[in-house]
Symmetry: C2
Subunit: 237 residues, 2 copies
């Protein structure tokens, strides 16, 4: 059973749950990955802790992690890019593997660009400020491109708000323009590191989608792959 530390926000968690089912492409229900999902919206705000003077959500994240492990999770995942600011603390001394959303994205980028290539990152202000993707991308040998302030204020953040308000058609061109801007600045591939942006591109059937890794879908595929390997090993021993 994979434990899912979610609820930050709950829409991202339900999106992840659906993407695990899609990633399974199961012939019957029995092939699906067993999940134990905590969706707890009471965890203190991650953006407030990273960008302002909000208190750290780490104690609540730790408690959720420990609850899922105690209940039988044999691996963990957290479908929230911003919360990966605390990933090192959460995965340290964790008795089961913790599958990182960042590592899942790096793995999916590999066939999309060459060593030394440039990766664009579309994300919220807190995910960018937390430098959550920076070190792992650099360790993998990639350079990083992020939207400038003007693109954040005029395209990315309004696009995210429109998706949250259900206006996906209006959001599509804004996110598309932000993606195109990073491609023009030299990005070879992009990571869409917030739940809303893949929805916006899909709504307008953007051809730029092929250049982008959806971080939630990448984490879902990594979890399905982990489970398949793990349950095969269990069967063999």
């Amino acid at each position: 059973m994979i434990g899912v530390l979610g609820g930050m926000g709950p829409l991202a968690t339900v999106d992840f749950f659906g993407k695990v089912l899609v990633a399974t492409s199961a012939g019957g229900d029995a092939d699906h990955v067993p999940l134990l999902i905590q969706s707890d919206p009471r965890i203190p705000s991650r953006p407030a802790a990273i960008l302002g003077d909000g208190r750290s959500p780490l104690p609540e994240l730790m408690a959720g992690r420990d609850r899922l492990v105690a209940a039988g999770a044999s691996a963990l995942a957290m479908p929230c890019n911003t919360a990966h600011f605390w990933f090192r603390d959460l995965s340290a001394a964790c008795p089961v593997p913790f599958i990182s959303i960042v590592d899942a994205c790096v793995a999916e980028l590999a066939p999309m660009l060459n060593a030394g290539g440039s990766v664009g990152l579309i994300a919220t202000r807190a995910t960018l400020a937390g430098r959550i993707f920076d070190a792992p991308l650099m360790r993998a040998g990639y350079r990083l491109q992020v939207p400038n302030d003007e693109s954040m204020d005029r395209l990315v953040l309004p696009g995210i708000e429109l998706v949250k308000a259900g206006q996906t058609q209006q959001a599509g061109p804004l996110i598309e323009q932000a993606v195109r801007g990073l491609l023009q600045k030299g990005a070879d591939a992009l990571v869409l590191a917030c739940t809303e942006t893949p929805v916006a591109l899909d709504a307008v059937q953007s051809p730029l989608r092929a250049k982008c890794v959806d971080s939630t879908a990448a984490l879902a595929r990594a979890c399905v792959a982990w489970w398949r390997l793990h349950s095969q090993i269990s069967c063999a021993t």
Copy 2:
């Protein structure tokens, strides 16, 4: 935190999760209901146990119930109509309230018809054979109408299969005809007691939807109502 005993199948569980979010109509993430969702597709088949010689899933359901309670669930719900065949066993000696999908439907039917009125039931063969809704509807003073064999074989079951295959537009007219058949036989209101049938009616924007209670949505609303009452009581003491 409400514990959700799911995964039977996982699509019904993700549907329930989404309907809890819709039922919340929350202004911000913090208003959402905290959930702990077990989605375990390894639980033995409920239809095989009710209709054939499959072994009972009760031990696995009990283990899931106890896992959720041990992990801190203060109430439980099970977004699977068929699994309510074992509801009496599951709710007996349960240390926390277990919110029944059947009771949630009966509560939503009350304003839709008069005492002594007739309720139509659209469900899978296993839910019908298990007589899961019969006693609670009769205790509430209602009569029960179910589709005849011909309607099951020609409309309900093919409609469910079409939704499972993603062909919701084609499923709509079949389910609509099954609903209309029960209304013509005297039903005053209906319960759609399987995940796929509300999807089919919504796909064709059927006006008959107003006569129907979606059991998954009814359970979601009952959970949100329970949580609001419970967390207010917690705040007050």
